[in-house]
């Protein structure tokens, strides 16, 4: 890096036509993708939610409050909402606590810790579907490595609602721990070393340093990871679709799985699916708004 002599700040150039035109030319592909594949579908889902729209029949006209009342009175609406919330809370708490612990464990650099970090990150390279298929075999009472154990105990991992929930949580923690660990590491590295030195000069114990220095200074990262993890978990689909198919006894149907089922499996009602989608969209905006508020409030306190 060469040190530049301080220069007088250049005058802001007026917005010339050539610049604008060129700027727009380069931005055009982005604008086209965003307009056609993001804004348009967003408007379309709003329209669907207010229309009578069978999968194969197309738009059959306005059906406004009916789609929403139908959506809420679906047999599995409330069970799927509660299950999704339960799953989200469990996953977020375990995943973030573990990710932070692992980040603290591997944050310094040494050959062994670099290997450890790579080992923890390898599952993150796998797709969620691949990971789910992998655990589908692993949890199998016939072919999995725990088949003997399951036979001896007379249980199957995916056989009971509680077992299915926790087995899925384990799969997700395995798949995402490295991902969130990396985000935590980025946050930890942003904490200046002097703060720790000051704490150690003051004679703070490790636990006091963690409580008094690391956690508060990590708040932006904790906010980010919480929002990401909550959003991701509320939208859970693949893991349950592949691992449990919503079972046993429809106990593990998530909200997104319900939307998928209403749209493509049986009812084929895009109007009601659209209404459900709008409900999820609004709920997520509200939830994320409050999460960010909570993290900011703590900041002010």
């Amino acid at each position: 890096m060469t040190a530049h002599a301080p220069q007088p700040r250049r005058l802001r150039r007026p917005l010339r036509f050539g610049d604008r035109a060129r700027g727009w030319t380069y931005a055009l592909p982005t604008a086209a993708f965003v307009a056609v594949l993001f804004i348009l579908p967003l408007l379309l889902v709003l329209k669907m939610s207010g229309s009578n729209w069978p999968l194969l029949g197309g738009d059959q006209g306005i059906n406004l409050p009916a789609n929403f009342t139908k959506a809420i009175s679906l047999e599995y609406f409330w069970p799927s909402v509660w299950f999704t919330i339960e799953y989200t809370v469990i996953t977020t708490v375990i995943l973030l606590a573990l990710a932070l612990g692992l980040a603290l464990l591997v944050q310094e650099s040494s050959r062994w810790k670099n290997l450890l970090r790579t080992a923890i990150l390898v599952p993150s390279a796998l797709g969620l579907a691949s990971a789910s298929l992998l655990f589908y075999v692993l949890y199998s009472p016939l072919a999995g490595p725990f088949a003997g154990l399951m036979n001896a105990l007379g249980i199957t991992f995916l056989g009971s609602p509680t077992g299915a929930l926790w087995s899925t949580v384990f799969l997700i923690v395995w798949r995402f721990a490295g991902f969130y660990m990396l985000l935590m590491l980025v946050g930890l590295q942003a904490i200046p070393g002097e703060v720790y030195e000051a704490a150690s000069i003051d004679g703070a114990s490790r636990w006091q340093t963690f409580r008094g220095v690391t956690l508060p200074l990590l708040r932006p990262t904790l906010a980010l990871t919480t929002v990401m993890c909550v959003t991701g978990s509320l939208l859970a689909f693949e893991q349950f679709y592949i691992l449990t198919k919503g079972g046993p006894d429809n106990s593990t149907i998530t909200v997104v799985e319900l939307i998928y089922n209403v749209a493509f499996q049986g009812q084929n009602d895009l109007g009601v699916a659209g209404a459900l989608s709008v409900i999820v969209l609004v709920a997520l905006v509200v939830i994320n708004f409050f999460q960010i508020r909570v993290f900011n409030d703590k900041d002010a306190a």
């Binding site: 965003v34 579908p41 450890l116 796998l126 797709g127 992998l134 692993l138 990401m228 592949i242 997104v256």
Partner: protein, 294 residues
């Protein structure tokens, strides 16, 4: 902040922070190695077990006598032949990578170097894609794509996957261009380069690390995506690899071929794990960039 995690990962410099161990004797550190070794094993075991098991003899599969590649043979002969699904996946992934690179390079260049009306609105809208639930957009996209003749089309899937990559990719390319000094373009312009040849000849080599990161994330996302092909493709010969392997389980009268499923997981996972191990530094850069802060 320029202290990058990759530097920390690749340097031997040790920061003394909490958790730093002052005791260096092997005997006192043995429990530490046992515990951390066990942690590493938990993360590696499922994949290693599946890799070994896919070649191991197991009852009820094509590989019931001795070790061998019987499960891979079953997989190869599944329905349209696994080659077709592999090719579909490769096509969708490479097209997604190509489109993401082109669109985000041009867009990132525009956002980093030009002022134009609507710039901030466009950038924020692009980033907002992250905040909208993926699955809820796919149903209207299904309707939309069939209206523009891209129903049941691998190109349609790649277009959708590209759109979902744009928030990360555009952000990444924008900061990559912004970190290149403006003097470089100005010097090239003085030498008579057009704005496009500045981008192509001068800036592109300078943002290569950003391109690799964007390409890697796009490939991993597209290769592994399940829900977009599930909703957007209905022809069984058009399926991508994750879908085909998921469907393969439900083959012969409710009897799951676990051996072929294991082989399928390995075929799915190996390209990703290799890419990840080779490009780990670039993967980590994606996290360092702040692109996940939306």
């Amino acid at each position: 902040m320029s202290a990058s995690l990759s530097r920390i990962i690749h340097s031997s410099e040790r920061r003394r922070v909490i958790g730093a161990e002052p005791l260096g004797r092997a005997a006192t550190r043995a429990p530490y190695y046992v515990v951390t070794g066990a942690i590493a094993l938990v993360f590696l075991y499922p994949l290693l077990w599946t890799a070994v098991q896919s070649f191991a003899p197991q009852a009820g599969t094509n590989q019931s006598k001795g070790w061998g590649t019987g499960n891979y043979v079953t997989l190869a002969n599944y329905q349209s032949g696994i080659g077709v699904y592999f090719a579909n996946s490769l096509f969708v992934s490479l097209l997604t990578v190509l489109l993401t690179l082109i669109v985000s390079t041009l867009g990132g260049y525009a956002f980093a170097r030009y002022r134009f009306p609507g710039k901030n609105v466009l950038f924020l809208t692009t980033v907002a894609i992250l905040m909208v639930p993926y699955a809820t957009l796919l149903i209207p996209l299904y309707v939309l794509l069939s209206q523009i003749g891209l129903a049941n089309s691998l190109v349609g899937v790649a277009l959708v996957l590209t759109m979902f990559q744009l928030p990360f990719a555009t952000f990444m390319m924008r900061i990559s261009f912004e970190s290149v000094p403006k003097e470089l373009d100005e010097a090239a312009m003085v030498d008579g380069c057009s704005s496009f040849s500045v981008l192509w000849r001068v800036l592109l080599p300078a943002v290569k690390p950003g391109l690799i990161t964007v390409g890697l994330f796009a490939f991993l996302a597209a290769w592994n995506d399940f829900i977009a092909p599930l909703i957007l493709l209905n022809d069984s010969a058009k399926q991508t690899l994750p879908l085909a392997i998921s469907n393969l389980r439900g083959q012969a009268q409710g009897v799951v071929d676990y051996g072929a499923t294991e082989a399928g997981v390995i075929v799915l996972a190996v390209p990703c794990v290799i890419l990840f191990l080779v490009l780990q530094r670039h993967y980590v850069r994606g996290f360092m960039s702040g692109a996940f802060k939306g």
